[in-house]
């Protein structure tokens, strides 16, 4: 047996480039975080008998879908070497505005949805325009938007939650289709569309090019300003969508919703392999990153770990996960 294996290896080696060893290392390289996710899932399943059930797994994905959707937008922003700190506040702003149009027997459900998406899009366009036209650091612009949008959400709602939402609006966050929660379906859809956008279209190629070397992209004739605006607009749109889902899920428009979601979203992207120095990142990686955070939140809750220890463990586990992943890359 042994010799046979080695013979096979040799044959493969003699083929010009890709040996089986190499293939393994490439797979590890590409899917390292996926393995860490699986390892975490196995660990949690061992520790908690109720963890690995369809119900709970769906539960995890549903809980992460809001942050996951935001993280997908943020990933694309980060690939262009940008950052978006405003997502959480935009969720809140969209939440109160959409909720105020979603009372029963007022407007059809499409109205709050479109208005919500529109508000999200608008914040993104503002971010993108200031960043690309005025050439201000994305960190500052989106930090400004973070503060301003939160203020606007509080102002709009006078600091109060806005309840009494129509059933059709509630369906977005609470309904199921063929047994699958609607937020998961939307999350999957957004992931799919964004994957296509990033990998199969001009837009995607330009996003990577801008992140890879903005100067070179300009010389290659890429309309960098336009694509930057589009990127932030898309992130804003997705924040808007996330805001709608969240509002629908909790049946209330909340000016305090989405606090710190931007950090979770950025963390998901970075855990998933997106580089803050631009040019590198994938949708798949980000979804895995979001799921890792989700599994941690859920698993630690299931295990009834005290809130204090939850924080400590979460910090440590995420760092260790990224560390293990980086080790794997090193070897190859």
């Amino acid at each position: 047996m042994n010799s046979q294996v080695s013979v096979v290896n040799k044959q493969e080696k003699s083929k010009p480039s890709i040996s089986s060893k190499e293939r393994v290392s490439r797979i590890l390289h590409k899917y390292g975080m996926l393995f860490i996710l699986i390892a975490l899932i196995i660990l949690m399943s061992v520790l908690s008998p109720t963890f690995f059930t369809t119900g709970n797994l769906l539960n995890i994905v549903r809980q992460m879908s809001v942050v996951g959707i935001v993280a997908i937008g943020v990933t694309i922003v980060i690939i262009t070497t940008g950052i978006d700190l405003s997502s959480g506040s935009v969720i809140a702003l969209v939440s109160v505005i959409a909720a105020s149009f979603a009372h029963p027997d007022t407007y059809p459900v499409i109205v709050p949805i479109l208005i919500g998406l529109g508000v999200g899009l608008l914040t993104g366009v503002i971010n993108g325009t200031i960043i690309s036209k005025a050439k201000i650091a994305p960190f500052i612009v989106t930090l400004g938007m973070m503060t301003a949008a939160r203020g606007a959400a509080l102002l709009f709602s006078d600091g109060r939650p806005i309840g009494n939402l129509s059933d059709s609006f509630k369906f977005i966050g609470q309904g199921t289709l063929a047994g699958i929660p609607v937020p998961i379906i939307i999350f999957g859809f957004v992931g799919f569309i964004s994957y296509i956008l990033l990998n199969k279209t001009k837009f995607g190629k330009y996003v990577y090019a801008i992140g890879g070397n903005e100067q070179a992209a300009i010389i290659a004739g890429v309309n960098v300003d336009k694509y930057k605006i589009l990127v932030y607009a898309y992130a804003g749109l997705l924040s808007g969508l996330a805001g709608i889902i969240l509002t629908s899920r909790i049946s209330s428009g909340q000016p305090t919703a989405g606090m710190m979601y931007e950090l979770d979203a950025i963390a998901a992207a970075v855990i998933g392999g997106t580089s803050l120095s631009g040019g590198i990142g994938t949708i798949g990686g980000t979804i895995i990153g979001a799921l890792i955070i989700g599994v941690l939140n859920n698993g630690l809750d299931l295990l009834n770990v005290s809130p204090y220890w939850q924080q400590i463990l979460k910090g440590v586990i995420i760092t260790v996960a990224v560390f293990i992943d980086s080790r794997k890359n090193r070897k190859s």
């Binding site: 480039s17 992140g211 890879g212 070397n213 992209a217 010389i219 631009g278 190859s332």
Partner: protein, 503 residues
């Protein structure tokens, strides 16, 4: 026997994922000599040198330096042992001064506190520059320097370590004849002081001028070592490419038609003044000049990167106003920039993605990319230009310098522009590929393209151009036809000793 050698590298092997960069390579350098290291792009020259200086650790092999076995794992150790290196890729720290760049890691400072002796730093730099006869302000910011001056700073830096062995990885790829001459003088005096030098180049004439011995690598393997004066060019090329190659290229005549691009009185204050010229379809126009003469600036200005203050540009007889690179590309222009790392490469992306940036529109159908066509076209060009890469999906940062350059040329060839600007197109490219590229340029001309080539290699300019424009300190000092042009005349114009009005 071994005493004669400052360096012996024996049986060095190094593998990267998918690439065996070095396979049992040896290199023996005699004390006080200049040893050339030659080979095609991707042969493994830089990798071998990076092993020597401690950037990579070899998978196998032994290094003996100055009589002892060399065991190092960091660059600092190599520097301390007396080995320094001019790296192939320029790597300045843009926001720091020239002096700070040169003495980085060795700043004169008080012990314990680390308090800097700024005066001494400046003084040391001045002395170094004086000795090397380099004229650069030690307090200038690196980001304000031209590429050529940046290269000179790197050279000065490598020398300033007072090493026993200096590695020079293509030091002349970014500088003009004048500085090359200067560098050679420096090398000769170093040699007199007993310093040994490993010299990597793709330029044949440099081999004859300055080196004593030459070692050739091919595909990561050691081919042989010969005294430089006992080897003919043809033999050397035979060793490098493994087959015979006619390296003398012949200008292929193309039919020169109507004016494609006409530039009148182009001025950008502080950069260049009143530059006028025209390029016809099927014509190759060469730009010659010393470093900093403004050739690059002129091209960048026309191309919309730094729009000019005044002057007119006509394309096919029509006046155009180009304010951005997008405008330029729309008018059918292309520009291969001179600094591939800064303005060309998308380092984190694959070779294929680097090639298609300009032409994505051509590959977009109904909003989606036609990946099959992309793959086919890239494959075709990659074969045509002999780009050495395990696959088109390889990250471009893992390619050798010359192969990166080829990928960038491929980017513009895919676009198939009517007017193509090539700024130092063969920088860092090996002899074989060079003639490939020349042939490509001729083919383009034959197809009726208008081509402008900026090059600091006079033989290249002379061999390629139908007409040669010479610049000096931001002004056009002359225009020579192919027949009129000689190295001497170009140099006279380039140094401003002679000014003719172009025909």
């Amino acid at each position: 026997m071994s005493k004669d050698y400052i360096l012996e590298m024996i049986d060095i092997t190094k593998e990267f994922p998918g690439v065996k960069a070095l396979d049992g390579v040896q290199l023996k350098v005699k004390k006080g000599t200049v040893h050339a290291l030659m080979g095609e792009n991707g042969a493994g020259k830089s990798t071998l040198m990076k092993i020597l200086i401690g950037i990579y650790t070899p998978d196998k092999g032994k290094i003996i330096f100055d009589g002892e076995k060399l065991k190092i794992s960091t660059i600092k150790q190599a520097l301390d042992k007396g080995i320094s290196m001019i790296h192939q890729e320029l790597s300045p720290i843009p926001n720091m001064t020239v002096a700070e760049n040169i003495f980085l890691g060795r700043e004169p400072s008080y012990r314990f506190t680390g308090w800097l002796k700024t005066k001494e730093l400046e003084e040391k730099t001045r002395k170094l520059f004086e000795k090397l006869e380099i004229d650069i302000d030690p307090n200038a910011k690196m980001s304000d320097l031209s590429i050529a001056n940046t290269q000179m700073v790197e050279i000065a830096k490598a020398i300033s370590y007072n090493s026993k062995l200096i590695i020079m990885d293509e030091p002349t790829s970014a500088i003009t004849e004048k500085e090359v001459h200067h560098l050679f003088n420096i090398i000769r005096s170093l040699k007199k002081e007993g310093v040994s030098i490993i010299y990597i180049t793709h330029k044949m004439d440099e081999l004859e001028q300055i080196t004593d011995e030459v070692t050739v690598l091919r595909d990561g393997k050691y081919i042989g070592t010969k005294p430089s004066n006992q080897i003919t060019r043809d033999e050397l090329i035979q060793m490098m490419v493994g087959r015979e190659l006619n390296q003398i290229f012949h200008k292929q005549p193309a039919e020169i038609k109507e004016v494609a691009l006409s530039v009148k009185g182009l001025t950008k204050k502080g950069k260049f003044e009143n530059v006028s010229f025209e390029v016809r379809k099927g014509e190759i126009v060469g730009f010659a000049g010393l470093m900093g003469s403004g050739r690059t600036e002129v091209l960048e200005s026309i191309f919309g990167i730094t729009p000019p203050d005044s002057g007119e540009v006509y394309i096919n007889g029509e006046k155009v106003n180009i304010r951005s690179t997008r405008d330029a590309i729309k008018y059918g222009m292309g520009l291969l920039t001179e600094d591939r790392k800064l303005t060309g490469l998308f380092l984190p992306l694959s070779v294929q993605d680097n090639m298609i940036t300009v032409t994505i529109d051509q590959y977009t159908k109904g909003g989606f990319l036609n990946e099959k066509k992309i793959r086919e076209d890239c494959q075709r060009l990659s074969e045509q230009l002999a780009i050495k890469t395990p696959s088109l999906q390889q990250l471009i940062k893992n390619l050798s310098g010359g192969n990166q350059q080829k990928a960038l040329i491929a980017r513009w060839l895919l676009q198939d522009p009517d007017i193509l600007f090539l700024d130092e197109p063969t920088r860092g490219i090996d002899v074989g590929a060079k003639s490939e590229i020349y042939n490509l340029i001729f083919d383009l001309a034959k197809k009726g393209k208008a081509i402008v080539v900026v090059s600091s290699e006079l033989p290249e300019i002379l061999g390629l151009s139908d007409r040669i424009i010479v610049m000096h300190e931001g002004r056009k000092t002359g225009e020579l036809s192919r027949e009129e042009a000689t190295q001497e005349r170009i140099m006279e114009l380039a140094t401003g000793e002679l000014v003719t009005t172009g025909s």
